[in-house]
Chain length 283, copies 2
């Protein structure tokens, strides 16, 4: 087991299994071949060929694209073909910061392999012995990654919020962090990957935040996401990252990024240092 | 002008201009076609074809590879064909941390487009108004990048030193930083690029270090690298990065990396955020 195993697990991409999903003639997502056959039942919404699934050019604006996709997704949901329904819309854009091309129920986003954005917040405490990281254990009843280790706060990016608004909202909901404390979180980078998983094609950009916390602050689970929080020395976090897949697949990436940025991996001592940096960068 | 211009300047790579340099049958570097013709004059050292330049398989260990390459490079140097002679050996390996395949005069490394390693140390001060960064102005008499803005400390990685030993050595030489203070520098990541420049093909990995300095510490130029040091608020550093190419080409990358890690670029405000991160990652 090594750090590289954690990163490779987020870049599992059997390209031959997918065909591109085209919007405005450009690849925006990736559809599995068997799901493409099902989408062929909806010729009003999809032009399906052996090579690609395309949204017809007549859907040329945000509202018309969102409406036709919602119609199909609701129909598939009614047939029980879209699990993990969230009742929450994502805005879909080629790149963060660009105007969304449409909005769509979150559960359908990986089925079309569309770009998805999220915030991942590491809460930490500086002590004389080094950094300690708040680690949550996810509920056993979560649909995705039950019982895995998680950040203090993380969440998908709902349509219509800024990233920082989402950080503050999720921090209150998941860990009972007061808004004024959560607002001290600082953006420290972003991590991208393309990964085939049970829930679909994850085409994710994770915006990473560091939140330095006072030593006397103790987070409390605020919803059904996380059952319990632990405060772990970085050495323990790194050992778990190296020796197990106990951390949720993408949380492991963000924690390696954190360890790199805070000097917990040393290129004079870690033989995989350059490989870890490059794999994390997606090259 | 934008941050992206700074990053693109370090990834200028007209691939059709180069052929691979093979060692042990694998591409290790890149040779310009016209330089390949000159290397064809040394059949004892190079098998030159239209497709590649190869080190013959009979040079199968560190000493024999280093010796034959040194012989050719000395000969070319004698003819005045290797400018910027340094009298300093680099260790050449496929990846940092692997045993070097050979050592070679530093000035010849970009002519063969070989992997080169260096340390880039940002010295900074935390104030109530935010971070201030120590910025050096390079001497007008430097062969490479005269008069450009630089870090507190940076240097190529000579054969036989650890990165941290090099940080401490260069910190003393370039900025008169005492060893015990320099030793507080923390590794915070690495940046790679492949870039065609006047001096040759730069196939570099820069190991980045952060050195938090006391407010009362003032660096002094210790050799002929840097003429003067300034302490600049990050906002001024960022403005120069955006609006000019005053920073040395690769120093700009490391400073953008620093700005990202310390929360000075905000994905809610910077439209190029995702593009900057991906370009910096080399994807």
């Amino acid at each position: 087991m090594s750090y590289l195993d954690r990163i490779r697990a987020c870049h599992t991409w059997p390209a031959e299994t997918f065909r591109p999903f085209l919007v405005g003639g450009e690849a925006l997502g990736w559809v599995a071949h068997d799901f493409a056959s099902r989408l062929a039942e909806f010729p009003q919404a999809f032009d399906v060929t052996d090579k690609a699934v395309a949204l017809p050019a007549r859907y040329a604006d945000f509202d018309s694209r969102s409406a036709v996709l919602q119609e199909v997704i609701q129909e598939l949901h009614g047939r029980g073909e879209i699990p993990n329904w969230r009742g929450e819309d994502y805005g879909v854009s080629r790149r963060w910061g660009e105007a969304p091309l449409f909005k769509m129920e979150r559960a359908a986003v990986p089925l079309l392999g569309l770009p998805a954005y999220g915030v991942h917040v590491n809460g930490y405490v500086e002590t004389d012995e080094g950094i300690q990281l708040w680690v949550g254990r996810r509920s056993k009843h979560k649909a995705l990654a039950p019982d895995k280790l998680d950040h203090l706060v993380a969440g998908g990016q709902p349509f219509g919020l800024s990233l920082m608004e989402n950080v503050v909202k999720e921090a209150e909901e998941e860990a009972s962090v007061p808004a004024d404390l959560a607002a001290r979180a600082r953006p420290v980078g972003a991590i991208s990957y393309l990964c085939a998983r049970a829930e679909g094609q994850r085409n994710d950009v994770l915006f990473c935040y560091d939140l330095k916390l006072p030593a006397d602050f103790v987070p409390r689970p605020g919803d059904d996401e996380v059952e319990v929080f632990f405060l772990w020395p970085m050495e323990k976090v790194l050992e778990r990252l190296r020796e197990s897949d106990d951390f949720k697949f993408n949380v492991a990436l963000v924690n390696l990024h954190f360890a790199l940025r805070h000097g917990y991996l040393d290129p004079d001592r870690e033989p995989d240092y350059q490989a870890v940096v490059q794999a994390l960068n997606g090259v």
